[in-house]
Symmetry: C2
Subunit: 252 residues, 2 copies
DNA sequence: CGCACTCTTGAAAGTTGTCAACTCTCGTGG
DNA sequence: CCACGAGAGTTGACAACTTTCAAGAGTGCG
């Protein structure tokens, strides 16, 4: 069969994982190499104290461990935040698919609009290390993930609650905007305040009060699952948000 | 000239950088690709609030950006904590050196004793991406750095001050032990309490009180620049420290 | 309708930060 | 040799931030 067919077939038949189920569990030997087609997920780690620390979010178009660096088990797991459609790739599929997609512009991987992202990120997956430009692309993804991780460390270690939550919202805004999921400064954010608490290293009660302060300052509106950025410049200024680390295109 | 000669020459003539000077500055276009031969350094980021957040420590044997991923400027800088001897490698040197060191066991890069580390990590530097096993090695280094970054995020986001500082000491202990810099559960740690504060996301006053509590519990002794681990099992248990992320050999 | 989950609120307690001063060490210059 | 000054560590009192506990209100789904 043609490789394009395989790609189409793989994308056409994503796995469906319900909310709050592990997409990839800790010490998962099968490898979690996947692409998120639809829905939100997060990477997390449980402490022996019982506390949970979220270390990354996955939004549509994002991938996880495509280079199989964590194949032999890792120190964290990935859980679906909403019901999720994702494509899991086997080593065989990655290898087969890579044969006919030798040249993918890795700059494209920095994401543009949602439709192209799904395809583009998928294409990324079809690449093997045999193709230098592919290896290049995977390395870029890795660097963005690392820069984001460092940004989170700086955020949690260096900013008080209000700025911390504001920064998180700014990041989600830009990332979702890049994949076309922001409409009129408004986007769906299916993250509970408990999740935000375990992301920011705060208690859920304090997250709640912090969000109310952001509302009071007229920066955001948050009702149910829908977040609206009312004053992006002020919100970004408050958070000291510099989106360069995300390596997104100027617009989308 | 033979590659071995170049390697020797490079190692024999390290740069000397005084304490509190930048080894690599932000937006440094020259690229910071280096190996630390002697001394301590840290990677950090300044916030507009004036706060400094340390995101990583470099100890003897550690490298920085050998794969030149941050060549075009990054969001952070690297500063010498003590006076430092380091080897800076140019692109040309890395290229030349890579030609005759095709097969380096990447497992060795996980560090053993101090002498071999200096050589081994140096050898890592002499590798280019043309050699698959080298690329492999650089990727392993990257993964360890990323896992450490994630560990710090979990540490700062999820643990109170006492556990946080304890965890930091546990990590330094294991990393320095791996390069032979721990003698009788005691090692030199030229990190001020101000530095620790900006590492752990605490104030220096609170770091001071936290250290006193660790002393009071009989876990450590810290005088001047010398830290002694008095009760490693208890300290590690307190910190919930699992050294697996460092990927160190069993002993050294 | 009722359960489960999420959001919100108040009060009290605990943790951490700020400010300010004092001590200690160490290296330099008189 | 001693005085001095800079950097680092220590301490106390107080303020600010954040958590915990507990309870009630809102929301969506079977």
């Amino acid at each position: 069969m043609a490789d394009g067919d395989l790609l189409d077939r793989v994308l056409a038949d994503p796995d469906l994982v319900p909310a709050r189920a592990d997409l990839v569990s800790r010490h998962d030997r099968k490898g979690g190499r996947l692409i998120l087609v639809d829905g939100f997920a997060y990477q997390y780690r449980m402490l022996t104290s019982g506390r949970r620390q979220i270390t990354a979010y996955l939004v549509p178009g994002d991938s996880y461990d495509l280079d199989a660096a964590r194949e032999n088990g890792s120190d964290h797991a990935v859980m679906a935040l909403t019901s999720v459609r994702s494509v899991h790739l086997t080593t065989a599929e990655v290898a087969v698919l890579s044969l006919d997609h030798p040249s993918i512009d890795h700059a494209v991987m920095a994401l543009t609009s949602v439709r192209s992202v799904h395809l583009t990120t998928a294409e990324v997956a079809v690449l093997s290390l045999d193709h230098p430009s592919i290896a290049e692309g995977l390395r870029l993804v890795g660097r963005i993930e690392e820069a984001t991780l460092r940004e989170w460390l700086v955020n949690i270690g260096g900013r008080p609650a209000l700025e911390r939550i504001a920064h998180l919202f700014c990041e989600l805004d830009r990332r979702l905007h890049a994949v076309g999921l922001v409409d009129q400064d408004r986007f769906e954010m299916p993250i509970t305040q408990y999740d935000l608490a375990d992301t920011a290293g705060l208690s859920s009660v304090h997250v709640n009060r912090t969000i109310q302060e952001l509302r009071r300052q007229g920066l955001i509106a948050l009702t149910g699952r829908s977040l609206t950025i009312l004053d992006r410049p002020s919100l970004q200024a408050l958070a000291d948000f510099q989106p360069r680390y995300l390596r997104l295109r100027a617009s989308a």
